[in-house]
Structure formats: C-alpha cells, structure tokens
Symmetry: C2
Subunit: 190 residues, 2 copies
C-alpha cells in the first residue's frame, strides 16, 4: 500500500501543489508491522509520528499495580504519537503497540520540523489535526466524568460497533476505564 490515503487525508484539510506532494511523499516511510509489535516502549524517546494506513494501534502504560491502562486507540487515517516525549525529548511514559497487523506511515520528528519550514501547509495541517484531537480528548473526559461504565460501553458500542468486534474485550474495558470482569457482566445482562 502506498500512502495515497495519507496524502488525500492531508488534502482534505489543506491545499498542496504537485511539487509539495512529491516532497511530502519522500518524508513518509511506510512500514508493515505485525500484530503485538511495539513502535514505542516506555523509557524510550519518542521520535516519530505514526499515521495508520490500515490497522490499529494502542497507546498504553503500566500502572503501579502492574495492569495495562490504554489511553488511546488509533485506526485507519489517524495519527498517533506521544507528544509529551516528542516535545520535551524526554523518555516516554507510554507504549505504542499494534493491536493487529498494521501498515503505518512514519514521519520522523526532525523531518517533520524540516517539512514545516519548506511546506507551511504541513504545519497548518497539524494545527488543524491537533485542534480536533484536543477537542476529542476533552469530550472523552466529559464522557468519563458524566457517564457510568455501563453507559460508556453502550455509547461506545453504538458509535463504533465494528471496532468493538475488532479489539479484545479486555482492551476495550481498559480504554473505557473499568475491568474486563465488569465488561463481562454488562454483556451478560442482555
């Protein structure tokens, strides 16, 4: 798979001429990653931004009690990275791992910075993407504050039924903020 998907995604938000498209093409490094492989491990510096061409990634950390807590999922046409580590250059406090076999376009952070200088539209694109990601994150907080675990599950299940099929239940439970046992009980009700 080429990164046509990515270019057309960018093109949804900003205008690019053919020259800029060609330059951008050269910035992205496509990779096929097998299920359960890590793109980033806690303690490593995060040096790139990952765009999912096809597949699924999760970002998670390990709690003091040794359980995994999932902060983010990302599927086709989403970017995922640890912006904290990217920004600060400090080791990441998160892991990024494939949930299934996944094709990603990798944008190295240094190359991204170079790109911002050469192609201002790229910076605009990320400004827009980040604005949306931030807004989504605020909405996520809202759901967590307001809804019960059960409500959150039903809401998520109604919103993304295919995705719920695709990912193990214990990961979904973690993402939604409760235990796999509790999710099992919710499902048993119907």
């Amino acid at each position: 798979m080429t990164n046509e998907n990515l270019l057309s995604h960018i093109h949804k938000f900003v205008l690019l001429n053919d020259n800029e498209k060609a330059i951008l093409q050269s910035y992205f490094k496509n990779e096929t990653v097998k299920k359960k492989e890590h793109l980033l491990k806690e303690g490593q510096k995060c040096t790139a931004n990952y765009f999912i061409l096809k597949g699924c990634l999760r970002m998670y950390y390990i709690t003091e009690t040794g359980t995994e807590q999932i902060v983010q999922f990302a599927i086709d046409n989403w970017w995922l990275t640890d912006y904290s580590s990217l920004d600060s250059g400090k080791p990441s406090q998160f892991n990024i791992q494939t949930v299934e076999n996944t094709e990603v376009a990798i944008l190295d952070n240094k190359i991204q910075e170079e790109g911002f200088k050469k192609i201002p539209a790229l910076e605009r694109y990320f400004r827009i993407i980040l604005q949306k990601a931030y807004a989504a994150s605020i909405m996520r907080l809202r759901y967590i504050f307001t809804q019960s675990g059960e409500e959150r599950f039903h809401h998520f299940n109604n919103s993304f039924p295919e995705f719920v099929q695709r990912v193990p239940q214990y990961m979904l439970a973690s993402y939604l903020g409760f235990t796999p046992e509790f999710l099992s009980k919710i499902r048993a009700k119907k």
Copy 2:
C-alpha cells in the same frame, strides 16, 4: 494592562518581527471581566479564543442531574476556548466563566484565520500550543484512570498549592472528579 504578556508568550515559541508584532497587537481585544461573568454559554456558538492576561477562567457543563462539571481551568498565560464549537461552527456544549475578576485578550476566530494567512508564525505558535494542551489532556486522563480521588487531590495540591487556595473547594472537587463532600472528608483527615 496591555497585552505585552501575550506577545512575550508568543515570542517564547516563535520569532516575530516588529511589523508582525504590531499587526498581532491589533488582532487582540483586551477586556476586563468581573467575577462570575460568562464569556460563553452552552448553546451559543463559540467564536473566539481567550488568553488570560490575569485571573482565572473555568470551562464547565451541566450534567443530566443538574450539577456543574468542570472540564478545564485556565489561569495567567493560558488560552481557553471550545475548539469543538470553534471548528464546527455548532453551538457549544460548554460554558466559560470567570472564577475571579479577570483580564482577557480576545482573539476572534475569523481574525485568527486571517492572521494565519498573514503571519505563518501565528499558525506555528498555535500548533505548538495545541500540541502541549493535547499532551496535558492525555496526562489528565492518565491521572483520572490511575489515581484515587484522594491521591489526585494530594498530587494537585502539591503541584499547585497557590491555585488550590484561590478557587472554591467545590470547584476543585468537580475538576478532580468527585463531590465537594468527599473533598471535605479528605481534608478532615489531616
């Protein structure tokens, strides 16, 4: 108060020449807002971004059971807005209100867009700001998932002791995700 604070804040992240500074100055409209006044009410379209020169804002919504839930606080040198509404042009699902007498610099969204065209550094500035805000929001999620209410309070209290003094306890409780009664009990322990 002028918006020197704001210009020097921008200057921390991007370079501006004198001409650009002058243009930017003209974009911001400074206002003094009394305690408990609203800058945005649920149902209204959000049309501006607010930079706090001095004071404190909160962003909150009303739950189904009629209680206030605070999503964000913002103090000196922070931006606050509802990016969802700003982006989509749809009515906001949030309120933005002053917690104390506050001086804000207001950047109207249309003017912001115009600014992005004239001054690419402005778009870069917001790209950087949003990257930080998004990362902070992910960390907030992490605290909510991992720590107990009591832990969250102590952590917050240690991190921002002056702020805890400044804001009513029931607002702090809401922001931290529990009831004012519970906060009262935590405090009674020591």
